[in-house]
Amino acid sequence: MLGGPPAIRRLRRAFTIAVEMRPTTIIAMTEITPVPSLAARVASASPDWMARRASGLSDRSIAWLFIAPTVVLLLAINIFPLIWTIRLSFTNYRANRPNAPLLSVGIDHYQSILSDADIWAAMQATAHFVVWTIVLQTLLGFALAYLIDRKFRGHALWTTIILIPMMLSPAVVGNFWRFLYQPQIGLFNYLVAFVSGVPPSSFEMIGSVKLAPWAIILVDTWMWTPYVALIILAGLRSIPDYIYEAAEVDRASKWRQFWSITLPMVLPFIMLAVLFRGIENFKMFDMVNLLTSGGPGSTTEVASITLKREAFEKWRTGFSSAFAVILFVTVFGLANIYVKALNRVRQR
């Protein structure tokens, strides 16, 4: 427990300095002292002929000149294909029959997608996957970040080690986890048997209708929890220590500190991590495809696998364009609502 008046005076002084040294104050201080800026030095070093050419152009046109290549690339790779996909979704186009006559089918594709039981099953599988991976990764990621923030001995080494899974390619991860899940020779069943005493070959993760959805959730959690932990760790590290000290002065318990300080201040970071992981897992393809091929049956056939099969195996380009547009609108809509909520939380 803190001592008498000298300690409190020291604390108060630290608090005051911290408040006064807020970013706005610091910027105001630097603007007073004139220093030849980097821009001015570069301008004086550029050759005459270049300066003469550029001097005719306004600042705005120079700015446009610099971002023009990126804008062109964005239009070509993002915007044009999106508009073309929307156009194709109203036709019967099939990429493997370029010479077939192109007919407009109106909203037929959209109607058949929204009334197709198999597509809804795929969306359900995707939703199950997204929700549970987010829940598990947030809980485990937070716990991991909290532990690392304790700064125990060797925490830097352990932080690096737990980052290894997320550096692997999802396709590679799907591939070798297939072997890990093999009931007879795989490590996973062996470990479960070791811990629980159940014979290793008596259950199988990938081939079972009940366990296969959890198999993919497990692999994704193994791979991406460190990512969530990193983001939350940044949040935890951004909480200034003086707030905890002030709380200790006010005799707040650890639990109260956690609920009133840690959680609210880390919440924007958690929400950001959830947003990133949510968007990523909504379009998850390679890891699931290599692990289960969408099986058994279509139990783990997430929306991307259905889309890939429609687009590049059945070659129903118009139909799959409509499906892609529906998925895009879903993700876009959900992300928009979510970002609004995120902004509200950040402004608190």
Binding site: A95, Q184, S298, E313
Partner: protein, 441 residues
């Protein structure tokens, strides 16, 4: 900075002036694309003869089976120039013919005196013709194949195992004469201890991603009476795809899967079957005849340990057709050399060498040779199989038809969804929708 720029410009100018070796000075090479498996390695060996005779070099592009269709159909649809020759799957014939991917070979065959009568009729129908049953040829039958079975002959020969089997089933342990007998043999071996290791009954096809489970289940459906359509009314499937026999056949396949396969065998195709058999895990293995030469040569399970048999009948006979034809890709810039390769490959002595190296010739000079059955322990079974092969649809929309069957069958057999009748009824609905979209009803 100006000096640096001038220096760089001078370097670039000098580099541009250096003459590049003219491409015409190098010998021509053509690329042949196929799946990556044992016969492909045999073809590399065989093609050395072509290079020696014609001076045209051969490059090969082999893709593993689960990715073969994806990779090659994408290549064809984007008019890629990777392949001059393509040994494409028999199902691709319809799409490739109608979409202009393959060169029509009728004129070439007529000019070079290559007669389709010299090849086994089932292979001409299955690998070359589109539309089926018409004399329009888009490929040369290159690799004859069908789905057969291998078994552990050495286990069958053990007296204690024979005695146990006789006691349980009241008949001798031998090559099964029907699919029911096959299932009984698999049940007998399931979980048995042999040489201190637990073994299982059968390794069958259950792969979800490409075509595995469809190929496997067909070997049960055909003998039980499944037909793709009314022989008198094309594309009429009701009562043929979901006939009583077909339902029983599908149920029998599921029963075999549930009772008698190794643990974790829910997504297995050719390689997994080979692994299971070669590691001594199973008594029976379903796999393509293409692998039998390699299996026979295997140190652990080959030779005296292995036996082969054709797909047993139940009510009728039927084996799933495999195999491929060799086609010239129409986007190739080396069509003349590619056609020369086909002419060389079609000659009877090359075909004989092809069989000797491990490829399955479809040429009558090889297959009708009186000594053929003695050339390998599986040769006679291969002939028998080719006499009763049935192929999957080869329509241009074959991929949609195949994906529908993959889903319905895997849903029922592995994921325990619904009944066999429901699966086949849904399959008919899926297929009708595809044919309707194609304007074929």
């Amino acid at each position: 900075m100006t000096k640096h720029l001038l220096g760089a410009a001078a370097l670039a100018a000098v580099a541009a002036l250096v003459p590049v070796a003219p491409a015409s000075a190098q010998p021509k090479t053509i690329t042949l694309c196929w799946a990556a498996w044992d016969p492909a390695n045999a073809l590399v060996e065989l093609s050395k003869d072509f290079t020696a005779k014609s001076g045209v070099g051969m490059k090969f592009e082999f893709v593993p089976w689960p990715n073969f269709a994806d990779r090659m159909l994408n290549e064809l649809n984007s008019k890629g120039k990777l392949c001059d020759l393509l040994i494409g799957d028999s199902q691709w014939i319809g799409g490739s013919a109608e979409n202009g991917h393959y060169v029509k070979l009728n004129d070439f065959f007529a000019k070079e005196g290559i007669k389709m009568d010299d090849f086994m009729p089932a292979t001409v129908l299955g690998y070359s013709e589109w539309p089926k049953g018409t004399p329009n040829y888009w490929a040369l039958p290159a690799m004859g194949d069908a789905l057969g079975w291998t078994y552990r002959k050495d286990w069958f020969a053990r007296p204690d195992i024979q005695a146990d089997f006789k006691k349980k089933y009241n008949r001798d342990l031998a090559v099964p004469k029907t699919l029911t007998e096959l299932t009984e043999i698999a049940q007998f071996f399931q979980g048995r201890e042999i040489d201190g290791k637990k073994v299982y009954g059968a390794a069958i096809f259950t792969e979800r991603g490409s075509e595995g489970i469809t190929m496997g289940v067909s070997n049960f459906l055909y003998p039980y009476g499944f037909k793709y359509e009314d022989p008198k009314k094309p594309y009429s499937m009701e009562g043929f795809v979901n006939s009583e026999g077909a339902v029983k056949g599908l149920e029998a396949y599921k029963a075999l899967f549930k009772c008698c396969t190794p643990p974790g065998y829910t997504d297995a195709y050719m390689q997994e079957g080979l692994d299971a058999f070669k590691s001594g895990q199973v008594a029976l293995q379903m796999n393509w005849f293409a692998f039998f030469p390699g299996l026979y040569k295997d140190e652990k399970v080959g030779g005296e340990h292995i036996g082969f048999f054709v797909n047993p009948p139940e009510k009728e006979r039927g084996s799933q057709l495999g195999g491929q034809g060799m086609s010239v890709v129409s986007y190739s810039p080396n069509k003349a050399e590619a056609l020369a390769y086909i002419k060389w490959f079609a000659s009877p002595d090359v075909q004989k060498k092809w069989w000797a190296l491990g490829g399955y010739s479809a040429h009558k000079a090889v297959l009708n040779d009186p000594g053929f059955a003695a050339t390998a322990p599986f040769a006679a079974d291969f002939l028998k199989a080719m006499g009763e092969v049935v192929d999957f649809w080869a329509e241009p929309s074959y991929a949609q038809l195949l994906l529908a069957e993959q889903k319905r069958v895997h849903d029922y057999v592995v994921a325990d969804k619904g009944t066999a009748k429901e699966a086949l009824d849904s399959l008919i609905k899926d297929w009708q929708k595809v044919f309707k979209d194609d304007g074929k009803k």
